[in-house]
């Protein structure tokens, strides 16, 4: 066999081994059975229902309120009448903090206090150690968060109104 043909034959068998390895590899790794993720997320209509519920509960004040979705992105947000420049941002960051840590933002304050090992979490972007944010839980899953700023009763009132808002859709979450 001429050298060039030998090289060609060698190349072909190498290729065949290569294909066989790939086929075998694919067969033994479970990627063949991979499925698309199907994740629950808060809908816009649910977000608006939460906002309306929170506004009813906090009707003695004009509140800034933000609902974030599963990814921590804003789904619905509205700024209060006469809001201070920082209020809108605070409402978003409270919602984000509650969503990402899956707990009321007031609880996260205690967990990340300066004398705690988790103090470093406060260095994350977008989080805020202030009460008024509540996670929106569908069972064990956090599918969103709500945050309020500007209520007359301060952080405890803001948290209560966030809870009242979520209560409006609690039955539709599972």
């Amino acid at each position: 066999m001429p050298t060039s043909l030998k090289l060609l034959a060698g190349g072909v068998s190498a290729l065949a081994i290569g294909f066989a390895t790939i086929a075998l590899g694919a067969a033994v790794t479970p990627m063949v059975f991979a499925q698309t993720l199907t994740q629950k997320n808060i809908s816009l209509d649910q977000a608006i229902a939460v906002v309306q519920g929170a506004m009813e509960a906090c009707k003695d004040s004009s509140i800034s309120i933000t609902v974030v979705d599963r990814d921590g992105e804003v789904r619905f947000a509205v700024r209060a009448n006469g809001a201070n420049p920082h209020n809108f941002e605070l409402s978003r960051r409270k919602a984000y903090t509650a969503r990402t840590f899956r707990m009321p933002s007031a609880d996260w304050i205690k967990r990340t206090a300066p004398d705690q090992e988790l103090y470093g979490q406060r260095q994350l972007r977008e989080v805020i150690p202030l009460g008024g944010g509540m996670p929106i839980m569908a069972g064990e899953e956090a599918i969103g968060g709500v945050g309020i700023s500007g209520a007359k009763g301060g952080q405890p009132a803001e948290e209560a109104c966030s809870k009242a808002g979520i209560a409006k859709i609690q039955g539709q979450l599972s």
Binding site: V74, A77, V78, R79, N81, F88
Partner: protein, 168 residues
């Protein structure tokens, strides 16, 4: 400089200030969009879009200062939709015309083309100013309707006009 001449200069300054009658200055009374009006505008934009079966739109309302007053991201929004809606609303507010009009007015090779270099503006239709008489009191931006830029603009216009009607 003598103490006396310093005093004289001081008095002249005071007289000049008095001539401009700052003493009678009053605060500006600016009309701005209320929270209730922002919600009303959102609902009006949504209602208009539903007429053409566009049930999945992203809407932003900005106030007189161009700051976000309300934002609503649709269930199936693409990652860019919310920012587009905000920038359309801002563009309409700051130039006091629809963002489609501004898109055409600032086209390449026109003298205003440089305006496109501003931060936060966007040369795309779908933003409409909230006009109360000659005053631009805010803007509404829509992204993601089925009708493209003209469709987005029709919904934004409905929202802006609903707010303006309430403000008059």
């Amino acid at each position: 400089m003598s103490r006396m001449s310093q005093t004289l200069i001081g008095m002249t300054g005071a007289a000049a200030l008095a001539a401009f009658s700052f003493a009678h200055a009053a605060p500006l009374m600016e009309k701005n969009i209320s929270q209730e009006e922002a919600m009303m505008g959102y609902q009006a934009a949504l209602a208009e879009c539903r007429k053409t079966n566009s049930n999945d739109i992203t809407v932003v309302v900005v106030d007189r200062a161009g700051q976000v007053a309300l934002m609503a991201r649709s269930n199936n929004a693409a990652p860019h939709n919310l920012d587009l809606a905000r920038r359309k609303a801002y563009t309409a507010r700051t130039f006091r015309v629809s963002s489609m009009t501004w898109r055409d007015r600032s086209a390449a090779n026109t003298p205003a083309a440089g305006q496109r270099l501003l931060t936060d503006v966007i040369p795309l239709g779908g933003g409409f100013p909230v006009m109360v008489g000659e005053e631009a009191a805010g803007g509404v931006g829509v992204s993601g309707s089925r009708g493209g830029q003209p469709g987005d603009e029709a919904c934004a216009k409905a929202g802006a006009e609903a707010i303006a009607a309430d403000m008059r």
